[in-house]
């Protein structure tokens, strides 16, 4: 008996079964690489952007609500008060005014008052008053305390006390008092930067300034009281 062996498929017929899956896999890979993966990445990036933008919107809405509550007139008034404490420029009249008012209240007789040139390079800028006066030790101590509690920020730089009479009840006093000014920086941050309201400490300082402005009436360029003139007559 003659055995007939099955014939092997030849040419295209041999790979006919492989062609379809290969084409299918090829198309799938192309779709994945060229369409699906890039689009998914794009969706992810867009989602991130949307989330960031939503956060910004929330911040902006909160900021808007906060700013809407601000009474512009009240804040203008508050800024004026703060500018009495620390003016934009030297405002020498307010410094002299504070010294004279406090001296009068504390019974110190001022016999000489010199205004120094000060430093303009530092921030805040400062200049010094040299005061010569006469008064009792208690008056001098009260004057030194009160001058630093006045509406305008002042600090004691030097003290020289000498007895003016034999009993030692009257003293001549030479005081160096420094006061300050600061140029306003008007830069505002980015729109989505959150608003920070006045904290307790700032409110306390503002209240103290208002209180001292009422207690010690001074002439100020920035303030609401008194005449307005040249801040630095030497310039």
């Amino acid at each position: 008996m003659k055995l007939k062996l099955p014939q092997l498929p030849s040419g295209a017929e041999r790979y006919q079964l492989l062609i379809w899956p290969l084409v299918g896999i090829g198309i799938s890979i192309l779709l994945l690489v060229l369409v699906i993966i890039p689009q998914l990445l794009r969706i992810w990036a867009t989602n991130q952007k949307i989330e960031t933008t939503k956060d910004k919107i929330t911040t902006l809405n909160q900021k808007y609500d906060q700013l809407k509550r601000i009474d512009l007139n009240e804040y203008k008034q508050n800024l004026n008060e703060a500018l009495i404490a620390l003016p934009l420029d030297k405002d020498i009249p307010s410094g002299i005014s504070q010294i004279q008012t406090v001296a009068l209240n504390d019974q110190i007789q001022i016999s000489g008052l010199i205004v120094g040139s000060g430093t303009t390079t530092s921030n805040p800028a400062s200049y010094q008053f040299k005061i010569e006066g006469v008064g009792s030790l208690d008056s001098v101590k009260k004057f030194i305390a009160d001058i630093q509690k006045g509406p305008r920020v002042m600090s004691l730089d030097s003290v020289e006390l000498s007895s003016g009479n034999k009993e030692g009840s009257v003293y001549s006093v030479n005081l160096g008092i420094t006061t300050y000014s600061q140029v306003q920086e008007t830069k505002l941050g980015p729109l989505d930067q959150p608003v920070v309201n006045l904290n307790d400490k700032e409110i306390a300082v503002l209240t103290a300034i208002k209180q001292s402005t009422q207690n010690t009436q001074i002439i100020s360029q920035n303030g609401t009281t008194g005449a307005k003139g040249k801040s630095d007559p030497f310039q």
Partner: protein, 179 residues
Amino acid sequence: MNKISINLLPAELGVAEKKQFRKIWIIRITVVVIGVISALAAVALGLVIFKNNEQSQVNLRLKQAEQQVASLNEQEGYLTLLRQRLDSVITLQQKENKQTQGLSSITQIVPEEVAINSLAVDRNGTILLSGLSNGVIGLNSLVNALGDSTKNNFTKTNIDSLSKGTTDSYRFDISTKLK
């Protein structure tokens, strides 16, 4: 009695039929896979369009919110300026003032028997004290008080000069420094 079936079809026909069956299934599976992948691609594209629309809407809302905030620029400016100024005032007020402290401390520790003729406190906290003591006890008490660093804030206390007067009085110059 068992039935006997005999396949009289040629064997090649059976092989060809099996081959055809496999081929049809491979094509079906391939078409299904391509269909699924294409559907995924379509969904991805659809999502992109949806997300782009969402982003446009969100951007519009952002623009509106920015315009709202910008309209209150003046309020923000006043608040910022006020805060800056008050913070500067706080910083200046917090500066340590040695002169006031020195004057206050000295006047508290001077005993009854001592009269101060002159007192100078400079910006570094150096104190120069001249006076007259009625008897040595008062002067001793003052020097002890200045030298007692546990009770007072003085350091480097020094008697620069001391002279006895005609009566039992002593003239002195003392220098000291605040810690």
